[in-house]
Each structure stands twice: as C-alpha cells, then as structure tokens.
C-alpha cells in the first residue's frame, strides 16, 4: 500500500464512528422498521421473496460456467488446504457424531491406524527354552513358512492383476460365477445365520491355498476372480506410496497411506488352518473352527451389497397378486460381486458367534447387574459378545475346573473394564496375585480379543493394558508363547495420536522383552520384518526400537546389521533401517555410545538399489545426528561422502530426505568443515527454494536455519548468497496463510537474523507490516518481535527506525481482531528503542487515548495493556507528563463494566504509579484509593489481582496519603479477598494487611482479624491466621501477642485453633525473635498440647516446631524439653496429618536440644515387645538417623555383650 493511501488510512483510525457515544442519531433496525422499509402490512413479510436457497452448493458452483469451464479465472484454496482440519492432528470434532462414538478410539483413528483391525492374533508360539516347549504351538519354521505363503499369495495376486490388465482373462469368462464356491463344492449351505461368513471364508481359503501352494506361481487363477480387479489391487502397490520422508510421529506419515485400498475379506482370510486363538466365548464350540473374526465387527459391508434373499423379499412384498418370474434363459447376474460370494441365504449381517441363537439378539435388554460381579458402571452391547457367558445361568456345580477358572477370569476382567474404581482395584489385584495359577493361556485368550474390539474406548484400553502390564510381571517367562499375540494388540499403541498411549505401549513392550528375553523377541518378530503389509512392518520396526532401548542397543546390534544387509528382500532392509531410525527418536542422546555401530549398520544402505531404502536411510541418519547433536561427528565420517554424492544425484522426495540428513549433520562439524560443506550444499538448497512440495519446503527451511547457526558460515556469505533467494521465495503472503509454513518461516528468519544482523533482516521485511494481508502483517510483526527482543535495536539506523515505528503503528491500528502478537511486537519495539522512541511518543499516546475510548471492549483492553507495557520506556524518555495524562484518562475509565478491560486498566494504572512515583501521581493518591475500595468487591480474578496489587503498592509506599479511616474500610474489604481461589491474590491480600497495620498501627487491624477467626470457612480462617502472623512480624510481636493470647480464652474451638495457627505462622516469620516470647507462650502451648482434640494438638505441634527451630542455640533448652515431654506421647497418633506434625515437632526439638537428649526418649521403645509400640519409635529413630546420623554416635547405648562394646570410646589420654 502506498504512503499516501496510508496517510488517509490513518485519519480513519481517529474516525469518531468507532468511538463510544450515547447520542445515536441512527434508527434502530427493529421489526417495525423492517415493515416500514419493505412495506409489509402485517400479512406475510416475505411474500414475493424466494424463501429457499439451494441446499447443496452445486447451483452456485455452476454459475458462470460454460461447458464446464469458468469464464472468470478463480483462485481457490487447494484441496489439501480445504481438508486441513478434516484429518490428523488438526482434526476438529464432528458435531454430528454421537458421544459414544466420539469416545471410541477407532473413531479418531486415521485409515492407516485402522489397519490394525486387519491383523489377527496368531496362534501361540513354541517356547524353545522351556521344557518340552517345542511341541506346543507354532515353531519359528512354521511362521516363516506362513509368511512365505502370504508373500507368495500377494505375488500371485499381483500376477493375476497384471494379466487381467493385459486383457488375458477371456477364457475365464465362461465359467459361471455362482457355481463355484460353496454351492459348487459343498452343496447348499443351510442359511440359519448361526455361522458367520468368515468361517465359510476360512474353510474355503484353506482349500484353495493349502492344496495349491506348491503349484507354480502363475497357476491359473480361480474362476471367481474374474472382473475383480479392484478387489485384488493388493498390498504390493501400497509400498509405492508409503513412507512420507519425515517419520517422527506416526500421524505425519499416515496420510500417505490413506490412499491404500480398503482390504477385501480375501486379504484377511488367510487364517492359519489350525491352532488359531479361540474366540473369547469359545466354550461351546470346538476350538478349531472358532477362528477370530478375520475382519472385525462393522468393517464388513458386504451384507449391504448382498442381494435380497427370497425370504426377505417374501416379507417385503405382498404374497398375492404377484408372481415370481423365471429368469430368461442365458441370464447371468452382472452385478454379482466376486469378493462376496459365500453369503448364505438369510444372512443379516454380523451375528454373535454363539451356538444358542437367542442370546445373540442384541436388541435384548442389557443387564446392569451380572451375577457374581455386582453393579457395574456400564455394560455395552459389545460386551455381551465377550461376557455373555456370565449371564447364561449355568450351574457352576457341574463345571470343570477349567471352566470355572475361565469364568473367574471373565468376571475379574469385567470388573476391571466396566467396574467402579474400588471394584477395579480389587479385581486388578486378584488378577495379578493369581496370574500364575490362572496361567497365560487362560488370561491372554480373554484379554487380547477384548483389546481388538472395535468399539473400545480410551479408558477401557488403558485398563486392559494395565492388566497386561501387571500380569506380565507375574508370569515372567511363561509369557513366551504369547509374545506375538501381545505384540499384535500393543503395537498399534505405538502409533497412536495420544502421547500417553504411546508411552503405555512402550512400557508394555519393554517389560515384555525383559520377560521373554532377547532371543525369543527376535525369533518372534523376525518373520514380521519382511511382512507383506507395510503397516505390520512399520509397527514392528517401532516395537523393535523399544526392545533395543529396553535390552540395550549392543545386544541387538549384530541382528540389526544382518537385517540391514539382507539380500533376500528389500522390505527387510527397509524395516531394519527403520528400526535404527526409531532408536534415536526413542532414546535421545543415549544413543551416543552406540552411534558408530548404528551408523555403520545402515551406512551401506545409502546406495541401496531401492529408492525407498535410500530415503529411509537418510532419514535414519538425520534422526541419529539430531539425537547426537552436538557430538559424534567422527561416527558419521564414513557416510559423509556417499551422502554428499547421493544428494547430488537424487530428486524429489528422496532429495528432501538427503538434505534433511545433511542439515542435521552440519551442526556437528567443526568450523572449517561446516563452512565448506555448507557452501556445497547451499547450491542445492537454494535451488530447492522454489520447490512447490510442502515437505521439501519444510526441509530446506530447517537446513537453512541449521546451517546459518554453525560457526563456519559468515554473515557476508548469508547476505550475498542466501538472503535474496530466501526472501524472494519465502516472504510471500501465501506463506502466512498456512500455520505450519508460517511457524517454519518465522523460526528460520529469526535464526538467520542471529547471524546476518538485525538491520539486514528487519530492513527487508519492515515494509510488510503495512501489507494489506493481516496474516502477513502478523507474521512480520512476530518475526520483528522475536528478532529485536533477542538482539536489541542497536544497529537499527534512523531511517529504519522511522519505518519500524510506522509499520508497527499501522499493524497495530489495522488489526481486525486484537492479537497479543501485535501487542507484544509493539511493546518490544518501543522498549528496544528506549530513548530513541521519544519523537514518536506523542503520536503513540494519542492513538492509545483514542483507542481507550473505542466501542469495542477488546480494543480498549489492548490499549490499556499497551500502556502497562510501555510505561518504562516512556519514563526513560522523560515523558512523565504524558504518563500523568494517560493516568488521568485511565482514572476516568475506572467505571469500566467489562472485568477483563477493568483489570487491564488497573494494571496500566499500577504500571504508571510504579514509574511516576506516588508523590507525582495525578490524580492524587487520596482520590484514586477511594475509587478502588468498591472495586475490591469485584469477584473477577483479573480485577482482584490488579486492584490488590495497586492497593498493596499504595499501602506499602504511600500509606500516609490516605486517611486511616479509608484504610480500615479497605481492611474489611480485604477480608473477603482471603477467600479468593487464586493463591497469588490471597498472598497479596495478606501482605497488604501487613502494610496497612504498619501504617495505622496494629490495634484496629488486629481487632478486625481476630473477629474474622469466628467465621465458618476454613480457608478464610487460615488466611486470617496468616495475616495475624504477618501483622505480628511487621509491628513486632509484643504488640500482637497479648491480644492474641487473650483470644485463646474464648471457649470456641475454631477461635482457639486459629490462635494456635496464628502463633505457628508468627513463630515461623519472626524466627530468632521468638526466644523472647518462649516462656510467655509456654502455658498456652502446654494447655493446647494436653487438649483432647486431635486438631488442637496437631496445630500446637506445628507451633512448637517453628518455635523450636527459631530458638536453636539460644538457651531455651529447658522449655524445649518441657515441650518434648508433652509432645512425645503423641507419636502414637495414627491420623496422617496429626502424626506428621508431631514428628516434625520432635525433629524441631531435636535440633534445639541436641540429638542425644531426644535419643534418650527413643531407646526405650525400639525393642518393645508390642509391635504397635516399636513401629512409631522406629519411625522417630529413622528420622533422627537420616538427619543427624553423626551426632547419634556418642549417644548409642552401651551393651553388656562383649562383641558389641565400643572399646575405642574408652581410650583416655
């Protein structure tokens, strides 16, 4: 915007239209006015208007388009910007989603995270370390075979897909789709809905793959696979889009995965033929067919796509008057989806896998009370699936031990998951204590399926994970066969958005690896390293990193080296490098000792033939360098060359990752190297400034800021080579609109300014503060603020100074929303300029005064805030006159009705009083204070805080400006402040009592305070006691003590307690001065310590403690021993607060009279026959031992026993 328009804009600032006024000449826009305007005569005021607008935006979109082309060029946000808040971190809550759904974990997961439902619990593994463990469960070989099979399957799928793409499936077309599958092989299956389709699926899968697996890879595809291209688009495609270059957080990389196809049921149905984990409620089924649902509840949409069965049609359509037609000869259904072949007739969606169909009806009333469990907090429909057995009313007398055990665990789990906190606690303890009796199989077969449930909520997951954690401790190595199952359910936690879930997951896996041992962990997780599903590999890599940090990197390193060099599959290498990448992210600088080994392990992969492996290697190096910073450059030596040469060869995403690695390694280098390498890399970085890729932008900004802070880079170099391009590409309006870019650009600019100097950078951006885009102005002000607040404004010359102040003023006035960033920037600039700001102050004051009277409350508030920020600079410029002027204006506005604004106004007044001084203040203090008294009654926290501050300051520095009666009035108001919630307010009020008492003498204040001890509220009484203590401290104790002790004679518990408390605070505050009052208060304390009331003795004990600590070494031992005699019997108190105070009192007295004296009391009870006696004595002994061990030595008793005697002490010269 040009200068001239700006000037005219300034006059707009002082436009009277935005000022507050009561004399409006405008007509108000009420209904009567509407009627008059649109001359509706009361009939129907919208007659003749179009009352509806298009519900969907299509109508508007098509305006102005001819043949689908716009006539006017339109600029609009990119889809990524439009969807910014729809996914991931920044996602906003969908208000249409029900509350229960929102609570579910699955509802906030990304599609990538939801892929956890695709995994299944594998059968238990053999434990080769256990006795005869070999023959139970699957061995390593079985698993590897299984994985091989899966990969083969994926490969075949891809082959089929390619073949189809080439149109090679004509032959297959002749095979009728419906004939294969169940009808073809098994005949008609009864459609009773008692079996879920997955079972059928599994059986079929078994037939296909188990028998055919040895056949050559290009076997003829099964007939029903025709036309199924979309369904077969398999995982082999997925890796092409995986791996966003930055992989710090799981969320960042997940969007790339979103494009992955939804897996069809075929993909998941590769259930192993035998020994799979039974479903939770498998009691009535044979173990074999009850494979866990290959897809979880709700994921299966095939039922919606299934054709209506004859029964359903019968029930929908009337039976008479219609005729069922025969399909014409040669008809073949076109729409038959191939992936969903085996739906039995009458299939109505998911059914609970239970034999008796009636309990599977979810419409049935859900029980609130389960027999043997008690009242639960809630019971969900899904819980029926797992805990339904508990309500089947079977007789427990004719059950086997195993069944009973199962029910017992079920009940405990239900209590933990759905119970009230006390129920949970006991149930959790029972589960933990009996874990070894229950055995791992019974426990995990129930816990793990629960964790796979789709409708699981955070709380439930947390509790179940806790159960696993506790049980792990107890089971120890018995857990081995279940390691993989546990990993399957716990690994997803590692990529959860919730930080605590990630921590929880890490903890479990680390405990698991400690229980199972490294060898078993490796043999369990090894098969997943080259799993065909990227999701599995990713989570496994993260889990492996946790294992490494739990068992030590050196133990795992040989394995990592082997994996990273795997010849067999690049997937394994990729995962191996990824493990190395995750280790530093997890362990931070703790990788330093192992840095060399880790770098060497992945170094070779920089030249891998697979671009993905190269990319992840560079990212891993970046993570290692980041964690090692600023040490460890020697470990990176071997990879520097490949990294540099590699960076020159790469393009696009992999270049970004290489640059990232270089950017992190350069700060580790010494001066000359970093200089050389920076100049080398800068070429590429500057070239990539113009890259449109967001990821690349982020990386180059990071590299620039990292390079600029290294010692080897000179300001001249930056100025000549980097800055012009940098400002050209990054200081553009567009950057201010995206939150992430905004932050990055500001950070980088600030880093550059550290090297290049304030004038250089600020000079380039100063004019942006007058830009027409508000976001851009804000970004500039924030940058200027951060640069100037760290580096000062010393090298800002006169011209730049004018520009700076002008720009800041424009940015300040043109805010549409009052932003703290602009306020900060303004204050920073004015304060940094200091005395040089003098010429601009009149203008600034004028603007502030004008804005103080603005209609909008937030503008007024900001103006007041600005005053409190710039008073210091103003007084430095000798502008006290202006300050007083402002103070007068603020005084006028003390009637402000918005508490936020009032608080700011009070704060501004206080700031002015601070720099101007009370004597020079205008209006005079004696006028200001009476205006403040009613404001003290305001309940708003900000107002309270600021008034009490101001009042306290006046009471402290200039109490004599105001007459005593006004101060007493304030005292009464202050009593209410003692009830404030904020501690700062209460403390300020207490201090103010002290100042006032000093100013007008303690008598009146004390009378007020003592009266307040009778009130009901505890907090108020406590604060009053504190205030009495403060008054006693400021006005000498002898002025207070007589009245206080006299008050103790009031036969009222609260008052007496208050007096004791006040004494306790008083002794704490006056310290050594207490020695003059010891004998005076002794009778009072004596009486209090012998009182029946516990609280009485407790408070007296705390008074004794402070008294004793005050008189250490001041010759009051006799009084202290007297008090000790009264205190000591109280060590048998059991109430936690009482006993703590008593012990503290004993400690205090021990310091006052010396350890040996107190030890004399202790020896008697250490070996008392009654444990109840021994216990507290040992507690006192331990405290003495910990605090004064050396001074006990001479006091130890002498023993009869020869060996126990300490002869050395008998030596006498």
């Amino acid at each position: 915007m040009s200068g001239s328009t700006r000037r005219s804009g300034k006059s707009k600032t002082f436009d009277p239209a935005n000022q507050r006024t009561n004399t409006s000449t405008k007509a108000s826009l009420n209904e009567a006015f509407d009627k008059q305007l649109y001359d509706g005569n009361g009939v129907e005021k919208y007659v003749g208007y179009n009352t509806s607008i298009a519900a969907n935006d299509e109508d508007l979109d098509n305006v102005g388009e001819i043949n689908g082309r716009r006539l006017v060029p339109q600029y609009t946000a990119s889809t990524s910007q439009l969807n910014e808040f729809a996914h991931g971190d920044t996602e906003e809550a969908d208000i249409l989603m029900s509350r229960e759904e929102q609570a579910q974990i699955a509802s906030r997961e990304t599609d990538y995270q939801k892929r956890r439902f695709d995994r299944k619990l594998s059968p238990p593994r053999a434990d080769p370390f256990a006795q005869n463990g070999e023959d139970e469960g699957w061995s390593y070989r079985d698993i590897m075979k299984e994985r091989e099979l899966e990969r083969e399957e994926a490969r075949v799928r891809k082959a089929i897909e390619e073949k189809e793409a080439k149109g090679g499936n004509q032959v297959l077309d002749h095979v009728p789709t419906l004939k294969d599958g169940i009808d073809g092989v098994d005949g008609v299956v009864t459609a009773d809905g008692s079996k879920t389709p997955p079972m059928e699926q599994k059986r079929k899968r078994k037939r296909r793959w188990d028998s055919n697996s040895e056949e050559p890879a290009d076997t003829k595809p099964e007939p029903e696979q025709k036309k199924s291209r979309s369904r077969w688009e398999g995982d082999e495609d997925v890796p092409q889009v995986e791996e966003a270059p930055v992989e710090k957080t799981p969320v960042e990389e997940s969007p790339a995965e979103v494009s992955g196809p939804v897996r069809s049921r075929w993909d998941t149905a590769t259930a192993p033929p035998a020994g799979a984990a039974p479903t939770p409620a498998s009691g009535l089924q044979t173990p074999r067919p009850s494979v866990p649902m290959p897809f979880a509840f709700g994921t299966d949409i095939s039922s919606r796509n299934a054709p209506l069965s004859d029964e359903q049609l019968d029930s929908i359509l009337p039976s008479d008057g219609y005729k069922i037609l025969e399909p014409p000869p040669g008809y073949e259904p076109v729409r038959k989806a191939v992936g969903v072949p085996a739906l039995p007739v009458g299939y109505n969606g998911y059914m609970v896998p239970e034999a008796d169909a009636n309990s599977s009806l979810l419409g049935k009333q859900l029980p609130t009370e389960i027999p043997g469990v008690g009242d639960l907090q809630f019971f969900k429909a899904e819980d029926m699936k797992y805990f339904g057995k508990l309500v089947d009313g079977a007789d427990e007398n004719d059950m086997t031990v195993e069944e009973l055990k199962e029910r017992k665990i079920m009940r405990l789990l239900l209590k933990v998951k759905n119970g009230t906190p006390p129920m949970r606690k006991t149930a959790l303890r029972q589960l933990t204590d009996n874990a070894r009796q229950f055995g791992p199989a019974a426990l995990f077969n129930q816990i793990l399926p629960l964790l796979m449930e789709r409708t699981l909520e955070d709380q439930e997951r947390h509790l179940l994970v806790k159960v696993i954690d506790r049980v792990l401790y107890k089971l120890d190595d018995l857990v081995r066969p279940y390691v993989h199952k546990i990993l399957v359910v716990i690994e997803p936690l590692l990529i959860d958005q919730d930080y605590y879930a990630r921590v929880e997951g890490r903890e479990i896996i680390s405990n698991l690896s400690k229980a199972a041992g490294l060898a078993h962990m490796i043999s369990t997780m090894r098969p997943d390293l080259d799993h065909q599903d990227e999701y599995v590999r990713n989570t496994t890599a993260r889990a492996f990193a946790v294992v490494a940090s739990a068992l030590g990197v050196p133990a795992l390193l040989p394995f990592l080296v082997a994996v990273c060099r795997s010849k067999k599959s690049w997937h394994a290498r990729h995962t191996g490098v990824k493990i190395v990448q995750q280790i530093p992210i997890l362990m931070g600088c703790a990788v330093l000792p192992h840095l060399k080994g880790l770098v060497e392990a992945i170094g070779g992969n920089l030249n891998d033939e697979q671009p993905k492996v190269r990319m992840v290697t560079a990212l891993a190096l970046a993570a290692l360098a980041e964690a090692a910073s600023p040490y460890g450059i020697e470990s990176f030596d071997p990879i520097l060359n490949p990294l540099w040469t590699g960076a020159r060869r790469q393009r696009g995403k992999s270049l970004a990752s290489f640059l990232k690695a270089i950017g992190y390694i350069i700060p580790l280098m010494d001066e000359e190297y970093s200089n050389y390498f920076t100049s080398q890399i800068m070429e590429i970085v500057i070239r990539e400034f113009q890259s449109p890729d967001e990821e690349m932008k982020k990386v180059v900004l990071k590299v620039v800021s990292q390079c600029s802070i290294t010692a080897g880079v000179t300001p001249v170099y930056l100025r000549d080579n980097v800055l012009p391009e940098f400002f050209k590409h990054f200081w553009v309006r567009r950057m201010a609109l995206d939150k992430r870019n905004y932050r990055q650009v500001v950070d980088t600019t600030v880093d550059l300014a550290q090297k290049a100097g304030v004038a250089e950078i600020v000079g380039r951006i100063v004019n942006n503060m007058k830009d027409e885009s508000e976001a851009y102005r804000k970004m500039t002000v924030e940058t200027v603020d951060r640069i100037i607040s760290t580096l000062g404004a010393h090298d800002v010359d006169e011209r730049l100074e004018v520009q700076l102040v002008d720009g800041v003023l424009v940015a300040f006035q043109d805010q549409s929303i009052e932003d703290p960033i602009i306020l900060d920037g303004f204050a920073t600039v004015v304060n940094a300029l200091g005395e040089r700001a003098k010429p601009y102050l009149p203008q600034i004051v004028k603007i502030i005064l004008h804005r103080l009277n603005n209609k909008s409350a937030s503008v007024r508030q900001q103006a007041a805030d600005l005053i409190s920020r710039v008073t210091f600079a103003m007084s430095k410029c000798d502008e006290d006159v202006q300050l007083v002027h402002l103070a007068q204006a603020l005084y006028e506005y003390l009637g402000e009705e918005y508490p936020e604004v009032l608080g700011s106004i009070l704060g501004a007044l206080r700031a002015i009083v601070t720099v101007v001084g009370l004597h020079a203040m205008q209006p005079p203090i004696k006028d200001i204070l009476p205006r403040l008294t009613p404001i003290l009654r305001n309940r708003h926290e900000k107002v309270q805080e600021n008034t009490i501050d101001l009042v306290g300051r006046i009471a402290d520095r200039g109490a004599d400006y105001v007459n005593p009666r006004e101060w007493m009035r304030i005292c009464f108001e202050l009593l209410d402040m003692l009830k404030a919630h904020k501690k700062g307010i209460r403390r300020a009020a207490n201090n103010t009592f002290g100042y006032i008492a000093k100013a007008i003498g303690p008598q009146d204040v004390l009378a007020t305070l003592l009266g307040n001890l009778r009130v009901q509220e505890r907090q108020s009484r406590v604060c009053t006691a504190v205030a009495i203590g403060i008054v006693a401290e400021t006005c000498a104790p002898f002025t207070v003590l007589p009245a206080l002790m006299n008050e103790y004679r009031v036969p009222e518990l609260n008052v007496q307690n208050g007096v004791l408390k006040a004494l306790s605070f008083m002794f704490e505050y006056i310290g050594e001065m207490s020695k003059d009052y010891v004998y005076a208060v002794l009778p009072l304390l004596e009486d209090a310590l012998m009182d029946r009331d516990q609280v009485h003795r407790q408070t007296a004990a705390s008074a004794v403690k402070h008294l004793a600590l005050g008189v250490v070494g001041l010759d009051c031992e006799d009084a202290m021993i007297h008090l000790l005699n009264l205190i000591f019997p109280n060590i048998f108190e059991t109430s936690p607060h009482v006993i703590d105070r008593v012990i503290e009192a004993v400690d205090g007295i021990r310091n006052a009279v010396g350890t040996p004296m107190v030890m004399n009391y202790i020896w008697a009870g250490l070996f008392h026959p009654a444990r109840k006696v021994r216990h507290p004595y040992w507690r006192v002994y331990n405290d003495a031992y910990v605090q004064n061990a050396d001074s006990i030595i001479p006091a130890y008793p002498s023993f009869e026993d020869k060996v126990c005697q300490r002869h050395e002490l008998d030596i006498f010269i």
Partner: protein, 84 residues
C-alpha cells in the same frame, strides 16, 4: 489399606537409601552391626578423633584407620543361625 501400602513403599525407599535405618522387625544383630559400622566410620571420618585414638593406642594413624576399617567386616561376630 492404601496408606499402609504407601507407608511400606516409603519405608522401602528409605532403607534402600540409608542402610542403617530400621523397622519394627529389625533384629538385635542388624541393629548392633549398624551401630558398630556407623561408629567406626564416624571415628575415621573425624581426623582429630582418629588422631586421639591412635595416640592412645600408641600406633600410627594409618594403622588405626586400617584396623577400624577391617573391623567393619562382621563387627559383632557371626550372624545368628536362621531359626525355623
């Protein structure tokens, strides 16, 4: 219940930090051993005290120091046989 548990945990952490602290089930043997060891280390830790003792025993300070150090091994004799 929870308080008891917490007190127990606090006591355990205290004992992990300070070996000489005791509890209601401390035996005479444990306590007297601790007393003896604490005393011996206290003598060694105060050089004037060590000097005084050495003069009394008529031997060099270092010898006394070594002697005291060695006495810290089973200072009150063999531990009692475990009963039951």
């Amino acid at each position: 219940m929870a308080d008891k548990l917490r007190a127990q945990q606090q006591l355990e952490s205290l004992q992990a930090r300070y070996v000489g602290t005791g509890h209601a089930d401390t035996t005479k043997f444990e306590w007297t051993s601790n007393i003896a060891r604490d005393s011996l280390s206290s003598y060694i830790g105060h050089p004037p005290m060590l000097q005084y003792m050495s003069i009394g025993l008529g031997q060099p300070k270092e010898k006394t120091r070594i002697m005291l150090l060695e006495r810290m091994i089973q200072p009150v004799g063999q531990p009692p046989e475990p009963q039951d």
